[in-house]
Chain length 430, copies 2
Amino acid sequence: MNNDPLDPCEKIRVAFKVIEGGVTAARGYQAAAISCGIKNPEATRLDLALITSDGPTVTDAVFTTNKVRAACVRVCQLNIKESDIRAIIANSGNANACTGLQGIQDAKAMCKSTAESLGVRMKQVLVCSTGIIGMNMPIQRITPRIAELAEKLTPSGNDDAARAIMTSDTKPKSYAIEVPLGKGQSFRIGGIAKGAGMICPNMATMLSFITTDAKLSKDELKRAMRFAVDQSFNRITIDGDTSTNDTVIVMSNGQATAPAIKKGSPEAEIFRCALQKVMMELAKMIVSDGERVTKFVEIRVRNARTLSDAKKAAEAVGKSLLVKCSFNGSDPNWGRIIHAVGYSGARIREELIDIYFGGIQACKGGLTSKTPVTELEKVVKEPRFSVTIDLNSGNANHIVYTTDLSSAYVDFNSSEYSAAIHAKRQKGLV
Amino acid sequence: MNNDPLDPCEKIRVAFKVIEGGVTAARGYQAAAISCGIKNPEATRLDLALITSDGPTVTDAVFTTNKVRAACVRVCQLNIKESDIRAIIANSGNANACTGLQGIQDAKAMCKSTAESLGVRMKQVLVCSTGIIGMNMPIQRITPRIAELAEKLTPSGNDDAARAIMTSDTKPKSYAIEVPLGKGQSFRIGGIAKGAGMICPNMATMLSFITTDAKLSKDELKRAMRFAVDQSFNRITIDGDTSTNDTVIVMSNGQATAPAIKKGSPEAEIFRCALQKVMMELAKMIVSDGERVTKFVEIRVRNARTLSDAKKAAEAVGKSLLVKCSFNGSDPNWGRIIHAVGYSGARIREELIDIYFGGIQACKGGLTSKTPVTELEKVVKEPRFSVTIDLNSGNANHIVYTTDLSSAYVDFNSSEYSAAIHAKRQKGLV
C-alpha cells in the first residue's frame, strides 16, 4: 500500500475546535420545532422544524438525482434561485412525493405560512419533507401551526430541530466546529442531518441543513459545497437506493468575526475543508445510524487506473448484498469482495489485487494470503473497520462508507405502506 | 396498458410437449454423477457430474461478465474454440475462483482425466465449478474418481447430474421439450441448471447445461443462444450480484429425426423460440428457488421511450432492496417502485407513470389510485404475481424476473467463509 492521501483535505491542516449548537452554532441563526402529528395525529413527537438566519444570506443547495422528485424539492429548486434565503421549514412523517399538483400547493403553502410568520417573501423560504411516498400531506395540521413554531425560534433550538427531522433514525445528528481565521477571529460551521433508509451515493433520503457565519460569495460557497458533498455525503451507502427527497442546504450569513474569504485564497481552501469536515461527520453519523446497522465499514480502493475505476470498484463493494451480509456475520469473506470488484466495471487485473481487513492481508495477488482466518476475524468482529482493496494498477484512490445488512433491516422494511394505510384507515383518515 | 408482446416468441406458436429426461432427453446424450466429498470429505452428497454426447457436436457457451473469472471459465474459454465438444465435467462445493495457476492446472486436470476416460481429446471437454471462492480445489479427491464416473454414464443420468451441481439450491432443476418438425419428425431440447445465490442479469452464479439433437450450424446455434439467453437468464435477479463462474452451455449433436435447420428459415425461428422456452423454464426455476425466497415477481415495464430505458427501469426495480423487502412483507408499496424507476437512469415523466399489481392499478399518473389497499394486498400476498409499470412514453417493453428479500437470506449469507475455513481446520485440512 502506498501512502497517497485518499482525502485531499488530509494535507490541509485546518485548526478547529468542536463546539456545541449544531445548526445554530454559527452567529445569527435560530431554530425551533413542534409536534403537528403529521404521521399520526395522536403522536406527540417533534415533526416540524424551522431554521432561520437573522440577516441576509447566500445559500446553496444540492438535490436528489432521482427523476421522481418530491414536491418540496421542486419548490426548493425554484426558490433557491432567489438571492437571499432566510429560512428552512422541514417536516418528517410524509415525503410529499408522488403527490402531484396538490403536493406543490402544499409545499408552497408551507413556504407562505413561514414567510408570513417571519415577515419575509415566500421565495426566501426553502421547504423539505421526509417520510412515506405517495400520500398527500395533512397540510391542515401543519400550516396553522407555523406562526406558533416561529415564536419558539431560539439560538438554542438545535436539538429540537435535529429531532424533528428524524424518521427511522434512532439518534438526532448534529455537529459544529469553530475555525480560527484572522487575528483572534474565527468562523463557525454547524449542521444537522437525518438519514437511516434509502442511503446511497448521489444523494439519498437524507436531509442535511448546514449554517455558517463565514463571509463568502455565492460562487465560492457553490465551489466549496460541490467539493465537500462529493467528499462526504456522496460516498455513503446503506442500501443502494437513492431517494426522491434528498437535500443538502448550506446557508452563510457573513456574521463571523473572521474576514471575508476570497476566491482562490488559502482561506478559501480552509473553508472548503472545514465544510467537508462538518459534512463528513454528519455523513458518518448517518451511516452509523443506518436502519438496523451493526457495522460501519470504510471501503478504501487504492491504486486504480483512474478515479472512475476506483469509484466503480468501491461503490460495487459498498453496495453488494453478499458483501454486506458477510459484514453482518463478521465473516472475512474476501472472495465476495473480489467478486464485486470483478463485476463493478472497473478495469482490473485479478492477479494484481491485494485485499486487507484493517491492516491485515486477506488476499495477495488475487489469491488467499497466508494469514490465519482468526486474525482476519478479529478485525471484522469490531463494529468499525476498514477494507482496503489495492488494485496495483495506477494511482487513483476512492473511499466509500458502508454498513452491513442485517436481517432486522429486511424485517423493518417489509410492511411500511400497508401499515401506514391501515393505521390511517383505523383513524378514519382514508 | 397496450397489448404489445413483451416476449418476441409470443407471436411464434411453437407446438411442443414437455418430456422427461432433462439434459439427457435429446437423442445421443448420457449423464452420471458421483460423490467426491469436495466440500466436505465425509459428506455423501453428489458433487461431480459428467454429461456427454455420443457423437460429434456443435457447441456454444456464454460466460460470466465478471472480470474476476474462475479458472474453469478460463479453461472453457480456450476449449470452446474447439470444433467438437463431447463432454462437460462439473462440480459443486468449490468454485475454483481466485485460485491462480494452481486453479488452471486443476481445471485442466479435470478435463484431462475426463478425456482419458472417454477416449477424446482434452480440448473436447468443458469444465465448470460452483461453490466457495478463494480456496484450492481438493483435486486429489476428484481426478482419480473420473474413470468411475464415466463408467456410470447412462441416458437416464439426468436426475443425478442435476442434483450434483446444486449448491444452496433446495431442488434439482431440469426441463425438456420435444418439438415436432417435418413429417412425423421432431427435435428435442433439454437441460439442467443451478442457481440460488449471486443471481443477477448478465449471467450470475448459475450454471446451465443444455443439450439438443437438432441439426444446425454453429452460426445458427450461436444466434439462437444469444437470443434465448437475452430473453431468459439475463432477465433474472435475486441479489444483484454477478458471479465469477456463470456459464451456459448448449451442445447440439444433430441426431434428431427432424431435418437440418437452415439459417433464416421458419424452422430457425422455431428452434430459437424452443431454446428460449427451455432456458426460460430453467431461469424461472432458479428464481423460484433463490436463497430463502418466498415470492416470484415479474417486473413488466411497458411503453418506455427505448428498450434501454425499459431495461434500466425494470432492472432498478428488480434489484431495489427496499422494493424486495416490501415484496417480502406482502406490502403493495408502489412508492418504492416509482422511486426505483426514478433513480434507474431511464428517461421518464413522473406524471405519466401507471403502476399495477397483477391487473389492479396502484398508481395512476404518478399519484395514488383510488384502489382500496386491501385489493392490492390480495395480489401481493400471492407467492407469484406481476408488477406492471407503464411509463406511457413510447413503445418499448422489458421484463425482469425477481424475488423478495427475506431476513433468512441475510442470515443464510452471513458466515459462509468463516464457517468453511473453520470446518476445514477441524478436519485438519488447513
